[in-house]
């Protein structure tokens, strides 16, 4: 059956796309016939999760290599789609266009930073990690540098970068589920958890791979449809990525009419140029260091496919990221247009219904006018005061970054079947990233700690049982944490890139490209690089009493905490390089091993016990 499946991938996913299109059309027809919105939204959520569960159960496995690396049988194009879904988190789907809406040009640091890193992955790491044939990223460190210490340090960095990230994904899935299903956030988190576990628990990497492909298809369609819709309405041409050039001009015109100070296309109105470039650098190097991304390239059949697969990954990511600025421009134009049509200020009795719907979602400051949440007309009028009695201006309206994508279909008066589609897309984005992260954490704990350090003689059955149990425990732990809406944890997600970059990039890259790098060099590099970044992050955000704003925060050259990697990354490289040259060179066997690592011929280096 396995051979049948990979041989027929094109047909299977072709049928899947066809069925999904029929489902969307059916929803459109049922809406015309008067099916209430609530049932449409429930159908989207329910059906997509059922599909993921079906794939997850069909892909269950009792083989170790299937569980950890999908049997190394994933073709480049499909691995590219899976990596795309793995990469594009709930935050990318939900928040990227929102950041661009708010920040204008400066937000493009995220677009650049989250794509350019794949060049580093392709050139410096992916082919060599595939040739090596590890199950996890710490596995590479443990073998290349020898002993448990590098392996353990790798796990610590992996955990620091991935755990807050997975908590945020479960939180995002909870927000989306509660908004679209109309249930309490506390319960919605567990809907998200269930969606994640059905994909990953029974089949590990194999199940996650094939559900991620399915999730990519849904999320990209869900992202493109509203953008194409807005482009067609505004310009008559359904290619938003090209047509928004003229919309940028319209926005500039509106900005002058409405007296908006910060221009959308002007660079460096929110960030200084230095902040902008530091951020790009940290996001790019972080991309090339995040274990849940690197491990996707362990699953291709060959080194050659691994290289090509990075290209496909970036292509599929590019489809969403080059649409995001268009999405932001059309959304901004629509909101500005509302004010221009009303003559500059919008009277309070003309506040549209969607503002109240989003303003009334408790606990999240998603939309505010004159500084208060848009709960009812009286509250807004009171906040804006007497001198704005006639109405409020565009500048008084603050939209949260996380609501732009989810609310734009409502703002642009799209039908419910499109709104449901966007909800399903956001849910798919959050679930697929959570799955990848969860697997990265659980695999490191089960393979690197349990199998390699605690019980190297464990048989296959026991290893898989432990792997699945650890996955369950980590997932439930993250869900319980997400349920408490931990604002500090959520803001720590931005740290993941700098932490991973400072802790892992130098030992991975030098491990391949510099044969002289020694165990001592790598250990010192990880400890000092990661330590420097962590020191700056904690010190800059909290200070050493761990309380925000108490005055003891450190601040080096005004570098923002999100770019803390600019200190740790060079420290890690310099320390690893210098210490390596001061210690005896690696053994003859290790140098032979590195020479073989660089040559694709001859199959993978590690033959894992099955």
């Amino acid at each position: 059956m396995r051979g049948d499946f990979t041989d027929n991938l094109g047909r299977i996913y072709g049928i899947y796309v066809g069925a999904f299109a029929i489902f969307v059309i059916a929803m459109a027809i049922l809406e015309q016939l008067g099916l209430p919105a609530k049932y449409i939204l429930w159908s989207y959520m329910g059906l997509t999760v059922l599909v993921y569960a079906f794939i997850g159960i069909m892909s269950r496995t009792s083989q170790v290599s299937e569980y950890y690396v999908a049997g190394r049988s994933v073709p480049a194009v499909y691995n590219g789609m899976a990596t795309g879904a793995d990469w594009m988190s709930g935050a990318s789907f939900v928040g990227m266009a929102g950041s661009l809406y708010v920040l204008g040009y400066d937000g493009l640091a995220f677009v650049l930073g989250w794509t350019g890193g794949y060049v580093l992955v392709a050139v410096l790491l992916a082919p060599y990690l595939r040739k090596f044939g590890a199950y996890t990223v710490p596995d590479f460190l443990g073998t290349r540098y020898g002993g448990n210490m590098p392996r353990l340090l790798g796990i610590i960095v992996l955990f620091a970068a991935s755990f807050t990230y997975v908590t945020a994904q479960i939180y995002a899935s909870g927000v989306i589920a509660s908004r679209f299903l109309g249930i309490d956030f506390e319960w919605a988190v567990f809907a998200g958890l269930a969606g994640i576990l059905v994909c990953s628990m029974l089949g590990g990497m194999r199940a996650v791979t094939w559900t991620q492909v399915a999730q990519y298809i849904i999320l990209i369609v869900a992202y493109l449809v509203p953008a194409v819709w807005m482009s067609t309405v505004k310009t008559g041409v359904p290619v938003p990525q090209i047509m928004y050039g003229s919309v940028l001009g319209d926005i500039t015109g509106y900005e002058q009419q409405l007296g908006v100070a910060k221009s959308h296309v002007q660079p460096f109105t929110n960030y200084t140029p230095r902040d902008f470039f530091f951020l790009i650098f940290c996001l790019m190097v972080g991309t090339a260091s995040l274990p849940h991304i690197l491990m996707r390239f362990f699953t291709t059949p060959t080194v050659r496919e691994a290289r090509k697969s990075v290209g496909w990954s970036l292509f599929f990511i590019f489809l969403l990221y080059f649409t995001a600025p268009a999405y932001a421009a059309f959304a901004k134009f629509n909101v500005m247009d509302m004010f221009v049509q009303a003559g500059g200020t919008l009277p309070y009795d003309q506040i549209p219904a969607w503002m109240y719907r989003w303003g009334n979602i408790g606990g999240n400051a998603l939309i505010s006018i004159c500084g208060v949440a848009v709960t009812d007309q009286a509250a807004v009028m009171a906040a804006c005061g007497a001198e704005k009695a006639a109405g409020f201006s565009f500048a008084d309206l603050t939209l949260g970054r996380d609501m732009i994508v989810l609310s734009t279909p409502e703002i642009a008066n799209m039908p419910w079947f499109v709104i449901g589609l966007v909800g399903a897309g956001g849910f798919a984005a959050a679930l697929s990233t959570a799955d990848g992260l969860l697997l990265a954490i659980a695999n490191a704990l089960s393979h690197d700690i349990y199998f390699k350090m605690i019980d190297p003689h464990a048989d296959t059955k026991r290893r898989l049982l432990v792997a699945k149990l650890i996955l369950l425990v980590v997932a439930i732990g993250a869900a319980l944490l997400a349920q408490t809406k931990p604002s500090d944890i959520l803001s720590m997600v931005a740290w993941a890139f700098s932490l991973a970059a400072a802790g892992l990039f130098a030992p991975l890259v030098l491990g391949v490209w510099d044969a002289r790098t020694t165990r001592e060099g790598a250990i010192a590099g990880i400890v000092l690089g990661f330590g420097t970044t962590l020191f700056y992050l904690v010190g800059n955000v909290y200070g050493f009493d761990l309380i925000k704003g108490s005055g003891d925060e450190v601040n080096w050259y005004d570098v923002k905490s999100i770019s803390a990697g600019v200190f740790g990354i060079p420290v890690a490289f310099v320390v690893t390089f210098v210490v390596s040259r001061l210690t005896p060179q690696p053994s003859q066997e290790m140098q032979q091993f590195i020479r073989r690592l660089r040559v694709p011929r001859g199959g993978q280096l590690l033959e894992q016990a099955h």
Partner: protein, 88 residues
């Protein structure tokens, strides 16, 4: 063992691989950082209704990255074949 290629061939293979790596990193650095430092000048040029500086950050650089990776994969495969280092 079939994966042993002659030491001279291996050294030449690695030298070419390393050159390709540096070429890719230079292109990457130019389109990640350097051209965006001139966004002010580029914005005076209009390209498909876009200010060119904005366009390069929103689309141009991304297209370069995608093409660069596929080009790299093809070049590296050619280098592997030249020295008999490709997979059987």
């Amino acid at each position: 063992m079939s994966d042993q290629i002659a030491p001279e061939a291996a050294a030449a293979h690695w030298a070419k691989t390393r050159t390709l790596m540096w070429i890719c990193l230079v292109v990457w650095a130019v389109f990640s950082f350097l051209i965006h430092m001139f966004v002010g000048y580029l914005n005076q040029i209009t390209f498909f209704d876009f200010p060119l500086g904005f366009y390069m950050a929103a689309q141009g650089s991304l297209i370069v990255f995608v093409v660069l990776i596929f080009w790299f994969a093809a070049r590296q495969n050619a280098i592997d074949e030249e020295f008999g280092a490709d997979e059987d």
